[in-house]
């Protein structure tokens, strides 16, 4: 109930339109959606853009230090979005975020990741953190889908809390995996490039 209300509200504010450019929305493969990050609306929008059945088993990965601040943020992250909260710092061998993510994937859940690690202030896409690579090499059978979120940084930019109701587009690209013999910088560069390639350029 609360979730369908959240989906409806997100679609109403962001007028979102999914474009499945490089993959099939209903595919059952283990999936990690990785997207550019510029707004608090990013994960709700990506999540709402998925078909209902895929949405039910897709969890956003979010920073524990940020979302565990108080009961409200924790309730939104865990209760509403079923987020997988991971530690950004103070990582120990016993509490390794990559292990948590890999376990979730192996249980058949899909994940939403923002590999830049934080929201971009101006819509540019920063360098990726190495977590994406560690996850991709830990779960080689999962496919990594680049997702470009267009206009969300205009709808609700970093540092603002009132959204303006523009129309956004969610472009799903062609999935990638770690190639045999590929190293960490190679994979991170290729995955970032796959995301940059989805940015629509004006036709004229």
């Amino acid at each position: 109930m609360l979730r369908s209300a959240a989906v409806f509200l997100t679609k109403l504010i962001t007028g979102t339109r999914p474009v499945w450019q490089g993959c099939d929305p209903s595919c059952k493969a283990l999936r990690v959606y990785f997207a550019n990050h510029g707004s608090h609306l990013d994960f709700a929008t990506l999540w709402a853009a998925l078909p209902a059945e895929a949405r039910a088993r897709t969890r956003p990965v979010a920073a524990a230090d940020y979302w565990n601040r108080n009961r409200l943020t924790r309730g939104v992250a865990c209760g509403l979005f079923n987020a997988l909260l991971i530690a950004r710092d103070g990582i120990t061998r016993r509490d390794n975020p990559i292990v948590h993510m890999a376990n979730a994937l192996r249980q058949g859940e899909s994940l939403i990741l923002f590999p830049e690690g934080t929201r971009s202030p101006d819509g540019t896409i920063a360098r990726f953190k190495p977590g994406l690579w560690h996850l991709a090499s830990a779960v080689p059978e999962a496919e990594f889908v680049p997702v470009y979120l267009q206009n969300l940084n205009r709808i609700l930019p970093k540092g603002h809390f009132l959204p303006i109701p523009l129309l956004s587009t969610v472009v799903f690209g062609k999935p990638i995996r770690v190639e045999p013999g590929e190293n960490k910088p190679g994979f991170l560069h290729r995955s970032r490039q796959a995301l940059l390639d989805l940015i629509p350029c004006p036709v004229s």
């Binding site: 007028g15 205009r154 303006i164 109701p165 036709v203 004229s204």
Partner: protein, 323 residues
Amino acid sequence: MNWSTPETRSVIIWIAGILLFFSITGRVLRRVLKSEKSQATVQNLIARVRAWWVMAAVVIGSLMGGRTTTEIVFGLISFLALREFITATPTRRADHHALFLAFFVALPYQYFLVHTGWYGMFLILIPVYAFVILPCLSVVRGDTQDFLARTARTQWGLMVCVYFISHIPMLLQLPFPHLPLGNAGLVLFLVVVTQGSDVLQYLWGKLCGKRKIAPTLSPGKTWEGFIGGVLSASLLGASLHWLTPCRPWEAFIVALMLCALGFLGGLIMSAIKRERGIKDWGTLIEGHGGILDRIDSLCFSTPLYFHIMSYCFGSGSGWNAGG
């Protein structure tokens, strides 16, 4: 507008009849014509007819719902149009507060002014108050990149999508006591003539179009389509003069102006789309563009139509009420 009067019924039956004729023609042509090129044309026709049905239902439905319903419906149309306009034209983070004010204060207040009939404020809210306040909100953020272009775009969006369109429900408040359909007839005249002009230009263009009129803006439009369409739509306007306070020849002139401005307004909106490198304003009507693609020819003709009706045909002293 009231279903119980015979004039209303005949207008609605006429409109439905013409649309039905086009719907049936489309279906028949789809069966008869087999070549790929004509199939594409027929598909396009069918899509257009569907959009006309929706538009007719929205306009007639809201007019029959009364003045408040019409104001709410056109307010929503303005909102959706402004959303498409601002989405397609780049703004920056520094404009966030200005845009918020445009969407959530300027737009609703403009329609509230229509509702209350505070004519003086209705006229200046966006051209004066919004013009002054919005750039102030942007400038204090200190971002100078494209400053003039950004503020101009926001102001244009408000003018075209909100200020101009809000003149349609404002027509319901003009003091014309003796029209057979009431002031709803003024709105119907505007919409039927403007849309009729689009349809007739399209048909004339298909029938005998040769010389391109604006190849860089709208390659489908021809001189033959333009002249044939505008003249026949103006005759349509003359035959609908009884909806307005005009005599037939006056209605012809008014309709001629509506058609010419509708055409040029369409070209202006096309020029903006070309500059932005987009084909359609939005995706509201699946595969056939957004709401702004449907109403572009109304935007620029509406305010002049309003003022011509008010000054040339109004009772003179009548229009000071509330302002």
